[in-house]
């Protein structure tokens, strides 16, 4: 893990609490609601066994270097892309490569000529095995068959554009924090690994929170609450 990102980790800290599951938010509730909720839960305790477990970390994998639980499996990619080099060491903005994130539903895997744009000019690393592979694909004009790491169910519509616009452009949060809400601190990984639950409750936990509308403004609003916003 690269130094100097302590601020980010702090930034992440409260996010992670919210992400920490279903019961995490209750302490913010009013007393009456809390009692009511507990009563309900007690009443329905017997049916709890039927609940899909809220997988917090589980047996899959160890902790990532920044302390998150790895929730998804290690995904082997055709090229072991070092996010830590690009986003971590060199502090390249995520959107430099994932350029569609701010204007489309999908963030998009960078097009191949994007990689070549830089790597054609970086003579120093051309003999590295990973870069060699990259050149191989480029010369064959073959797209790289990346594996999806954050693959939401098919009935879910997640819009990268709106989240980036809101938190990066409007609220002016750091890009690593903005992306990191859902993707974890990718700057500390090589190939990405899923570290957030990305379950419905997890999404809602954030949508129910009040967020500043703009940087410098004190007006807050929470995320939309309509089923059809995310379900298609």
């Amino acid at each position: 893990m690269v130094g100097g990102s302590v601020g980010y980790r702090q930034g992440f800290h409260h996010v992670d609490e919210a992400a920490g599951g279903y019961y995490g938010r209750n302490f913010r509730m009013s007393h009456a609601k809390k009692i009511f909720l507990w009563f309900l839960m007690f009443w329905m305790g017997s049916s709890l066994v039927l609940a899909e477990p809220f997988v917090q970390g589980g047996p899959i994998g160890s902790q990532t270097s920044d302390g998150y639980d790895a929730l998804g499996p290690v995904v082997e990619q055709p090229i072991e892309f070092p996010h830590n080099r690009h986003a971590g060491d060199m502090k390249i903005n995520c959107m430099y490569c994932h350029t569609y994130a701010r204007r489309s539903n999908v963030s998009g895997i960078p097009r191949l000529d994007k990689c070549m744009g830089c790597h054609n000019l970086i003579e120093g690393v051309k003999d590295r095995p990973r870069i060699k592979k990259l050149f191989e694909y480029w010369e064959n004009k073959q797209p790289i068959p990346w594996k999806k790491v954050h693959d939401l169910p098919d009935f879910v519509r997640f819009n990268h554009e709106r989240h980036i616009q809101r938190f990066y452009f409007q609220e002016k949060r750091p890009i690593r924090e903005t992306c990191g809400y859902c993707h974890g601190d990718v700057a500390s990984m090589t190939t990405a690994r899923r570290v957030k639950a990305l379950s419905m409750g997890w999404c809602i936990s954030c949508h129910q929170k009040d967020h500043l509308e703009k940087v410098g403004s004190s007006v807050t609003s929470h995320g939309p609450n309509d089923c059809w916003l995310c379900h298609k």
């Binding site: 998804g72 499996p73 995904v75 082997e76 569609y100 204007r103 489309s104 539903n105 999908v106 998009g108 895997i109 960078p110 097009r111 191949l112 000529d113 694909y137 480029w138 004009k141 073959q142 797209p143 790289i144 068959p145 990346w146 594996k147 999806k148 790491v149 954050h150 693959d151 939401l152 169910p153 098919d154 009935f155 690994r193 899923r194 990305l198 379950s199």
Partner: protein, 735 residues
């Protein structure tokens, strides 16, 4: 020259399972996954390509000959949906169901994807090398074929495909471009030409206050249904025009009529003369009408007409009065008028009303002049096929190329076309699907679909000026072994006439050069590339033109009574044309098969429409399998009780009854072409589609009619579709 093309092809490439592409798993994939699906990116896309966002490309619909401009939504290399192109004056941003189904023609699972060759009576896949070898053998430089020995049988073809096709024939010294259309309107066009001076005049709905339609289904399957529908919608706005429809079987257009009259098939001309008789009583006409015409109509008084046509004398008077009071009006004739032994006179009599009413110059005008006569659409006719047939039988035809038409399926039994095919030594079909005709060919070449090929089109009906419609690929080709129509012909031409065609690596470059050559005609001084890019982007290049005058005249003619019913064949047989199936060329499109035919709501089938009164007399219930016997042959179909039909008439839709054409078409329904009697129009020699007489017999079997309609087709007192009298509505005040 072609690099731009190749680039486009690159980003029209399908990305496999990509980004948000694969939804087929549906509700199956219900939780988050990692490392299961692949996601790929383009190697070098253009800047406007953003995954997850659709890009619209303009093109031209080739599902029928109307030449509607369309836009295809392309995402991740796949064309997803077609919309109308607002740039196109014909479609105006709208599109019909048939057009929408173009994507299914492209993605159809039964598409042909390799060349096929007939070996010992069956088609077997072969390589392109072998196919090219065969083509070279027959059409190459060493070919001994000459002149009329080679014929090219097509459906409607226009634009540069027609130019290439005719150049191809010309290289053999042949002019035998035979154009066949199984639902041809050649008779009507000839009548219109004689009376109005134009085969297809412009119909100005906007200027007409009343449309009197004799069996013309201009909203469903006329010359340009989408344009007509758009115009008709305007016609219905304030001041609302009236539509009167007279036909033996209610068409889609008939369903929209303010007043619908059932008429005995074939007596439309007589009714028209009866109306003319009534109209000419007005003193305004005295001295202005040729004596021949007066002589002609004099015998057609209301009562006489009423007796023949089955339309009451009052109704004749009323129609005439309506016409008189609502000038300018527009009188149109359709297939129901033309399809008789004297269809020409019938149609001419109907057009005569236009002349009498002075609609010329108001609601009727001539289409504008044409800057590209060599590119106008070839219009099919039955007679052309019959003449080709003669040559085939006599052994004069040595090689036959077939594209865009399916005569084995659509020609009547008595023509024995498939027998004639056997006499042609080398038959080549250029198709996307193996249909009945291709199944009998020696070589079948797989074509690119309309979503994969380049081309230009010019529609028959040009509402204003002339529009050169461009067709371009919306997607990379699905099957590597398929080839464009133009490319195949160009390859042959390159060998035969290298000096002219060798410069063109492919049809695309030929097309581009050809369109750019026409640039001066469009008075454009833009740079070539810009002109071409703009043309592709808009999908249309417009040539300004003005409507021309028509030379209408009152032609004296003779309208005999139709040959009547006999005890052997006591019913008129009216084959109806479905807006979506047409002559059956679209039967392989599942959306269209599943889309209920509006008047009956039947799907996936053929049926016999029969009036409730007749059905009650004959004790026929819905679903009774009936045997339709004509002098020529017999077919079976289920009965459907249908009030919108003349009681002496039975009707059956065309287009079903395929034995080939893939899983969605074959084995569905029955083919009415096979029982049509050999009756031809006396003037044009066209097959008279509506002249057959049949007998009906119950087979005793009853099958469920698969339809959307429930046990009732009435509203049962609920306010579902309310109707208001037109004079009470305040259309002018509406938004």
């Amino acid at each position: 020259m072609s690099t731009g093309n190749m680039d486009r092809r690159d980003f029209l490439r399908v990305l496999g399972i990509s980004g948000a592409a694969a939804t087929l798993a549906g509700c199956g994939h219900t939780s988050i996954e990692s490392g299961v699906e692949e996601v790929m990116s383009y190697v070098q896309p253009q800047d406007f390509v953003v995954p997850g966002i659709g890009v619209f490309y303009s093109s031209t619909c080739t599902q029928c000959g109307s030449g509607c401009g369309i836009m295809g939504k392309v995402r991740e290399g796949r064309v997803l949906k077609l919309e109308g192109n607002p740039e196109s004056g014909i479609s105006g941003g709208k599109i019909c169901g048939l057009g929408q189904a173009g994507v299914q023609a492209h993605y159809n699972p039964d598409r042909l994807h390799t060349p096929m060759m007939n070996i010992e009576g069956g088609l077997v896949p072969i390589s392109w090398e072998r196919a090219n070898q065969l083509l070279d053998e027959h059409f190459g430089t060493k070919s001994s074929l000459q002149g009329e020995q080679i014929a090219f049988l097509t459906g409607g073809v226009s634009g540069h495909q027609r130019v290439v096709l005719e150049n191809f024939l010309e290289s053999f010294g042949s002019t035998q471009h035979v154009c066949y259309d199984a639902i041809s309107t050649a008779t009507g066009r000839a009548a219109s030409k004689t009376v109005l001076g134009a085969e297809q005049p412009l119909w100005n709905f906007s200027k007409a206050r009343l449309i009197l339609s004799f069996g013309s289904d201009f909203l469903g399957n006329g010359v340009s249904p989408v344009y007509m529908a758009r115009e008709f919608a305007k016609f219905r706005k304030a001041p609302r025009g009236t539509l009167i429809q007279i036909e033996p079987r209610m068409t889609l257009t008939g369903g929209n009529a303010d007043r619908w009259y059932p008429i005995k098939p074939g007596t439309e001309g007589i009714l028209a003369l009866g109306i003319a008789h009534d109209l000419l009583q007005h003193p305004e006409f005295s001295g202005k009408v040729p004596q021949e015409v007066l002589d002609l109509v004099k015998n057609y008084d209301r009562d006489a007409v009423s007796e023949v046509t089955g339309i009451g004398a009052d109704a004749v008077r009323l129609i005439a009065a309506q016409l008189w009071n609502n000038t300018p009006s527009l009188v149109v004739a359709g297939p129901a008028v033309e399809g008789h032994a004297y269809g020409f006179s019938n149609a001419a009599a109907v057009q005569l009303l236009n002349v009498i009413l002075g609609n010329r110059g108001n609601s009727l005008e001539g289409q504008s002049e044409h800057p590209f006569p060599q590119m106008t659409p070839t219009l099919g006719s039955y007679r052309a096929l019959a003449e080709l047939h003669k040559k085939m039988v006599s052994g004069n035809c040595q090689a036959l190329l077939i594209h865009g038409t399916n005569p084995v399926f659509t020609s009547p039994t008595h023509l024995e076309f498939s027998e004639a095919m056997k006499k042609v030594p080398f038959k080549v079909a250029l198709v996307t699907h193996i249909d009945e005709t291709a199944g009998q060919c020696d070589l079948v070449l797989p074509l690119l679909s309309a979503m994969e090929d380049f081309g230009t089109h010019i529609a028959e009906y040009q509402p204003s000026g002339v529009e050169l419609m461009l067709q371009q690929p919306l997607m990379e080709k699905l099957y590597p072994e398929t080839k464009g129509f133009g490319d195949i012909l160009l390859d042959v031409l390159k060998k035969r006439k290298p000096q002219e065609y060798a410069v063109f690596p492919d049809y695309y470059s030929y097309l581009k050069a050809a369109v750019l050559k026409a640039k001066p005609v469009f008075h454009s001084d833009e740079p070539d590339e810009h002109f071409w890019e703009t043309a592709l982007m808009n999908g249309v290049v417009k040539w300004e033109g003005k409507p021309t005058d028509l030379e209408a005249k009152m032609v004296p003619l003779e309208v005999p009574e139709p040959h009547g019913l006999t005890t052997d064949y006591p019913f008129y047989f009216v084959p109806s044309i479905r807006p979506d199936m047409r002559d059956g060329r679209h039967a392989y499109l599942p959306w269209l098969q599943e889309s209920p035919e509006t008047m009956t709501t039947v799907v996936w089938d053929s049926w016999v429409e029969i009036h409730p009164k007749t059905a009650a007399q004959m004790q026929i219930k819905e679903g009774d399998v009936l045997l339709l016997q004509s002098a020529t042959g017999s077919i079976q179909a289920k009965a459907y009780i249908f009030p919108g039909i003349q009681p002496d008439t039975v009707s059956m839709p065309l287009g079903q009854g395929h034995t080939q054409m893939g899983r969605y078409a074959s084995g569905v329904g029955a083919n009415p072409y096979k029982i049509l009697d050999p009756i031809f129009d006396a003037h044009t020699g066209e097959l008279a589609l509506h002249a057959t007489r049949v007998a009906i017999r119950k087979t005793g079997e009853n099958q469920k009619v698969v339809k959307d309609e429930g046990p009732t087709n009435l509203q049962n007192g609920q306010k579902l579709v309310a109707t208001l009298s037109a004079d009470q509505a305040k259309l002018a005040r509406e938004i």
